[in-house]
Structure formats: structure tokens, C-alpha cells
Amino acid sequence: MNEDIKTFTISIYTENNIGLLNRISAIFQRRHINIESLTTSQSEIEGVNRFVIVVNITEDQAKKVVKQIEKQVETIRAYYHTDEQTIFTESCMFKIKSALLFEEPQIQNIIKESNTTIVTVNKEFFVLEKSGRRHEIEALRRDLNAFGIMQFVRSGRIAVTKDEMKITEMLLAFNNQ
């Protein structure tokens, strides 16, 4: 078994029920696994939620954790994938003093070159939004940090897999039983 610690993206399709987040996060907590990021949202299927959880663990751990998650009554399916098997992104926002836009013209270059979107501008502050890989967001944060950031926030990873998930087939099979 491969004992190297790697980044895994765990994707979970679930019913939308109160308490399920607790049940799933407890599986990680009990094994002393730190969750790097966690995002939940509606999935491609009406009424089915999707969790995307990023963890740094061994593949052996990933397999076991996914089985424990799948064992939960309200989990429809769970998978784990490596970075190579997924397309993934994160998103972030910066709130910066508006005056800096004029005092520090370099900021405008940074915005242009990094494909960052200006969400809003008013007299006191402006807000930037950017999606991308972690290292791109980190680079942008470092660049902007030199001028002072009022607020910074980054989302968890969202990811889709290169492979098919076959959830729809599974649910149809249940309906047709």
C-alpha cells in the first residue's frame, strides 16, 4: 500500500439533510485527519447535494475514509481522486482601500495581468474577485499585500472529475426497482 501523503479530493453525493455535515466531518475527526477545505452545494441532480473535501492523507487512508462515508445511510456515493484526476479551482475576494487605486498605479497592472475581476468600487473601498489554482491566488495575495489588504477571503476547492460519476444511473436504478 502506498504510504505517501498526497492531496486527495473527496467527492460525496448525499441527501440534503440536517446533521449530515456533522456525521461526515466526524469521520475525519475520529481519525485525526485535518480537513484542508470543505465545500457543499447542490449537485447536477435536483435534490442531491455534493461535498468536495480536500485532505492530505495516504491513499490507504483515503480508501478507508471513503468507505466509511459511503456507509452512512444518507450518502449516495463517495469517491476520492488525485489532483491529476480532477479539474479544480478556488475563488477569493480582496477588499482594498479605493484611494490606493490612484496612489499606487501598479495595482491596476496587477489586476489586469492576473485576470482579476473588479466586483464593485465605491469611495472607501473596491472589491476584487479571482478564481484559480491556489498558487495563483497566493501570488496575487502577496502582490496586493504590499499595498495593504482590508479583507481577504478564499473559498474551499471546488472540483469536477475527468471520469464519469454514474450517480444518475444509480438513482434511476433505485426508482425502477
Partner: protein, 577 residues
């Protein structure tokens, strides 16, 4: 696509009726065939108790003396009968007191449904009187749990609760119901749950896996079967016996697998694990094919995993995919229900026998007999041993009793030496090791199987953790037989202190009360035995009693349970002294 169908139910055309949530709870229980439930009333569950009063001709509520007792009684009921046990408690401390029993049921795969009252929904999160987040607390120790805040949810949620508790790998379910939902009126109808789309209780058994398993077994020179509770939960005792007999395989059991095959069966080679038998533990590391059936390779079974059965090909028959490769890497996993998979395996097996291999077990048994069993069952020294009490119980019940044990030395002795002729006869807390389990579990077991002789065997430590359930026995007149093997010590911990902590007996010696007087205080007939010559008559009197009976046997204070695999050691390093 239509994704609305989340659960499937039996198509029962039922007229709806306008009733309260609390009446609905009772009607749901009756629909699920519940005849008895265990519990303790309190503020947030009072509307339900009011309905229990009205339905007292149809459903029997047993007032335990502590909610932990209710949970264990529900477990005992479930373990002996295979039916779902039910426990009920109020919010707050009532609910938290159930937790030990729920955790025990989770780790030992016992189907129970616990219903707790909760403060009214408008008070949730306000730190109201007796409010506790029992759904949050119970999440890691339940198979499923749910909070109900509207009466109209009750039928579907209870139907799901019973379905989830008993299907697939069984387990505990907790339903928390707010007080306003208990009072609320709604249009009631009930249909049983038959499926949930996100839940696949029994994975399909693949023919390829069966053929691969059979090929390995047919080629094996030294096969060993280790079966667990999965055989009992799957009602696959006959299928197991047929497989064992056809292929002529020596077969051992985990503590929870005990009694699935009669003790006297010639291919039954005893218990594996920390205090199991010498031969099956030692020979786990000699077999060429290890066939695990409905067991989960607990650390108390395997010892050090790095030296566990490394020479063997491992076949794992298992209903829960999460158990496969969890602790021991398997060569062939046969998923599915044990009854189905073993029945599928049987025709693929060659008729076989392994006389030389079986002889190895007999030879090691002889060593164990000389070094351990003789001392336990045929002592010549003055003090009574726990083993001879079991020997006497065997003789007088002819191995037909259900033995309900607590946790510790007496438990290991009981599991090692009790004769089991009938399945579901060993009711004990295996995975969680819950002291205090035995007495209340015996109450539930006797109520679920009134025709069986149910004997609760405890140590002086565990007995006092739930001793108040003598009150339940007195009030319900349930005729359980209670044996306390008293050595005035927390014996198992003392044994470890002796062996691994240079006899520093920190907080293990017990100043005990007069147990006979206490039993008599509850109007239970009681006797104490201190001498060997009194034992047979006392056991006879106990068995003959039509009512509950308490027997204290004062045993040797500092006796040890052997064989023993020291914690973390290899099964090969099992000690006989």
C-alpha cells in the same frame, strides 16, 4: 429524471385518522411489532407516556431504574431474538444516559431504536431546561439519527428507523422528537419502509468471488475458518455448519460469534482472541487459507497485525464493504449476506477432510488442558474458580441456557467454558467492553425469550454499575437468574497490574456490600456460596427456581485468565501462564 423517490414503502392502503404525534409514535411501534419497550419517563416525553398508558393492553413498557439499563435491556432483547429492541427516554440527562448502550449497540451491530423526547421546537438552542443536543451527541455512535419537529414526519421517520436498524449490518438508531410535535395533531397513516435510495444494506454477492474463494479453499491443506456475529445476524448457522462439514475445516469463533455452532461440534476448535483458546490462536499463524466469515478483525482478535496470518491467503465474507481491507488485507472479498454467500459457496466446495491438520488443534488443546483448563475446571486447591461455576451451570442446564455476561475475567471464563447448544446464547458486550451491560441485558433477553433459561453472570465490579436494575426485576417479576462471581477485585485490571505493572494494585480492590442482603432487599431469593461442596446444590436450586434468583459465588481473589495474548503481541506469542 424523477429524483423524488427517496424511500420506498410497503403499499398499504390505510385510511388516515387525525391523532396526536404521541399517539402516532405508539401506533408506529405497534405496527412494527413492538411488544415491549424499556424506558424512563420525564418532562419532554410525557405525552408519549400518556399514550403508553392508554395502549397498555397492546404494548408493555418496562420501567428500568436508569436509562442506561433501558438501552442495555433493549440490546439484550435484540441479541437473543434478532428483533429490534426499543428504548425510550426523556430529553437531556435521560437521553445522555442512553449513550453508553447506543455506543455498545453500534460497535456490536445490535438493532435498537431509541426514542427521546426533546424540548419544544421553539426552545431549541435556547439552553432550555433539560435541553441537550442529543442528535449531535449520538451522531458518531448511531447508524442513523434524526430530529422530528413536526408530527406529520413521525410515521415516515419511525418506519425508516426500524428499517435502518435491522437491515444490512444492524445498528442503533435514535429518533429525537420535540414536545410540540408530540402534542400536534395530524392525519396519520403508516406503511413500513422497504428501501432508501442512498442506502444499499446488502451488497450483491458476486459469483466470481465465490468461485475464487472455493478454488482457494479446495486447494488448501490447512484451512481455518474464523466466524463472527455476522453468521448469527445473517441467520446463517445452518449454512455455516454445512460448509464446515463438507470441506472438513477446523473452525473457530470470535466472542460475538459464540454459539452459532454447538460447542460440542467436532470441528469447533474454540475461541480466537486475547483470551481465546490456544490452538486457534497459535494456528492462525500456521494455516494456509484463513476464511473469515462475518467478523471484523478486531485488535483483540488479531493482536499485532504485522504478524497476523501473514503466511495465509485471506478470504473475507462480509456484509459491510467498509470492513474489507480495514485491518487485514484480504486476497478475496466475498461481499453480501452470509446466508446467501455461504449457501452459494457450498456447492462449489469439494467434500474434504483434514485429519492431520485437525490433529494439530487437538494436540494444542491437550497442552491448554494441562496448563490451563485443568486448573480452571478441576481445581484441587481450596478456593473456588470461576471455571468450575461455569462447569456446574453447563451440567445443570445441559448447555441450553442463554448466558448473558458483563465485562472482565468472568466474561472471558464464561465465553471460554460455557457450553452452547443453541444459537444466540452468548449475549455479551464485545466491542465496547461495557461493564454494567449484563444485568439489564439479561432482563431484555428473558423478556424476548421467556421460554429460555437466561443466566446473567457478572463480576462484583460490573454488577454494581447497574445493580439498581434489581428493582426492575423485582417490579416486573422477570425470572432471570443472576450469578455474581465475586473476587472482591476488578479482576481483569488487577490481572494486568500483576502481569504488567509489578502488582501495583491501584484502585482495583473492592470493599463490597453484602450482595445477598441487597438482593433480598429487592425481595429476590438469594444465596451465597463460599465452598466447593455447596456449589452444585446452590446452582441446582437457582435453576429450579421459577422466580428470579441471585447467587453469589465467592471465588479465588487473585486468579488469572489464561491463555492470554498480551496487548499488542502476536497471536503466536499467546501465553499459557
Amino acid at each position: 429524471m424523477n429524483t423524488e423517490t427517496k424511500i420506498k414503502t410497503e403499499a398499504v392502503a390505510q385510511k388516515t385518522q387525525r391523532i396526536t404525534g404521541s399517539e402516532a409514535i405508539i401506533r408506529c411501534l405497534i405496527e412494527e411489532g413492538v411488544d415491549v419497550l424499556y424506558g424512563y419517563p420525564g418532562g419532554a416525553i410525557m405525552p408519549v407516556y400518556d399514550e403508553l398508558y392508554k395502549f397498555r393492553d397492546q404494548i408493555h413498557h418496562v420501567l428500568t431504574r436508569h436509562e442506561q439499563g433501558a438501552a442495555h435491556a433493549a440490546q439484550g432483547y435484540a441479541r437473543i431474538s434478532g428483533r429490534v429492541g426499543v428504548a425510550m427516554a426523556t430529553s437531556g440527562p435521560g437521553a445522555t444516559n442512553l449513550i453508553t448502550g447506543i455506543a455498545d449497540a453500534q460497535i456490536d451491530s445490535t438493532p435498537i431504536v431509541c426514542i427521546t423526547g426533546q424540548v419544544a421546537s421553539h426552545l431549541l438552542g435556547s439552553d432550555a431546561f433539560q435541553e441537550t443536543d442529543i442528535v449531535g451527541i449520538s451522531t458518531p455512535v448511531t447508524k442513523w439519527n434524526h430530529q422530528v419537529t413536526k408530527a406529520s414526519e413521525i410515521p415516515e421517520v419511525i418506519a425508516k428507523a426500524f428499517y435502518i436498524a435491522k437491515s444490512g449490518r444492524p445498528g442503533p438508531v435514535l429518533i429525537d422528537i420535540t414536545k410540540d410535535a408530540q402534542f400536534e395533531e395530524f392525519d396519520f397513516s403508516y406503511s413500513k419502509c422497504t428501501g432508501i435510495r442512498s442506502y444499499n444494506p446488502i451488497p450483491k454477492t458476486s459469483q466470481e468471488s465465490l468461485e475464487a474463494a472455493a478454488a482457494l479453499i479446495n486447494k488448501a491443506k490447512k484451512p481455518l475458518i474464523v466466524w463472527g456475529q455476522g453468521v448469527i445476524l445473517g441467520k446463517a448457522e445452518n449454512e455455516l455448519k454445512a460448509v464446515i462439514e463438507k470441506a472438513g475445516i477446523p473452525s473457530a469463533w470470535t466472542i460475538l460469534g459464540a454459539s452459532a455452532l454447538p460447542t460440542s461440534h467436532p470441528l469447533n476448535v474454540g475461541m480466537v482472541g486475547m483470551h481465546g483458546n490456544y490452538a486457534p490462536n497459535k494456528l492462525t499463524n500456521e494455516c494456509d487459507v484463513l476464511i473469515a466469515i462475518g467478523m471484523r478483525f478486531d485488535d483483540r482478535v488479531t493482536g499485532d497485525l504485522r504478524t497476523y496470518a501473514k503466511q495465509a491467503k485471506v478470504i473475507h465474507f462480509e456484509i459491510d464493504p467498509a470492513e474489507v481491507d480495514k485491518n487485514v488485507k484480504t486476497d478475496i472479498a466475498v461481499l453480501g449476506d452470509s446466508k446467501v454467500s455461504l449457501a452459494g459457496l457450498l456447492p462449489l466446495l469439494n467434500a474434504n477432510s483434514h485429519p492431520e491438520w485437525l490433529q494439530e488443534f487437538k494436540d494444542l488443546y491437550d497442552i491448554e488442558f494441562e496448563k490451563v483448563i485443568k486448573h480452571d475446571l478441576h481445581p484441587v486447591k481450596e478456593g473456588l474458580t470461576m471455571g468450575e461455576v461455569l462447569k456446574e451451570i453447563n451440567a445443570q442446564t445441559k448447555g441450553n441456557a442463554a448466558i448473558v455476561t458483563d465485562v472482565g475475567q468472568h466474561q472471558m471464563i464464561a465465553c471460554r467454558y460455557a457450553d452452547f447448544n443453541i444459537t444466540k446464547s452468548n449475549i455479551t458486550s464485545g466491542g465496547l467492553g461495557t461493564m454494567g451491560f449484563g444485568l439489564p441485558a439479561a432482563i431484555g433477553a428473558k423478556m424476548a425469550a421467556p421460554d429460555r433459561e437466561v443466566i446473567s453472570i457478572s463480576g462484583d465490579g460490573g454488577y454494581q454499575m447497574t445493580i439498581q436494575e434489581l428493582g426492575t426485576i423485582f417490579q416486573t417479576k422477570v425470572p432471570v437468574k443472576i450469578v455474581v462471581l465475586n473476587n472482591d477485585f476488578l479482576g481483569m485490571v488487577r490481572q494486568w497490574q500483576q502481569l504488567f505493572f509489578d502488582k501495583r494494585y491501584a484502585s482495583t480492590e473492592m470493599a463490597n456490600p453484602d450482595f445477598v442482603t441487597i438482593a433480598k432487599g429487592y425481595y429476590i431469593e438469594a444465596k451465597r456460596v463460599t465452598k466447593r461442596e455447596e456449589l452444585a446444590d446452590a446452582v441446582k436450586e437457582m435453576i429450579a427456581s421459577k422466580d428470579a434468583y441471585f447467587l453469589e459465588v465467592c471465588v479465588e481473589k487473585e486468579d488469572n485468565v489464561f491463555p492470554m495474548i498480551p496487548s499488542g503481541a502476536s497471536v503466536s506469542d499467546i501465553r499459557l501462564s
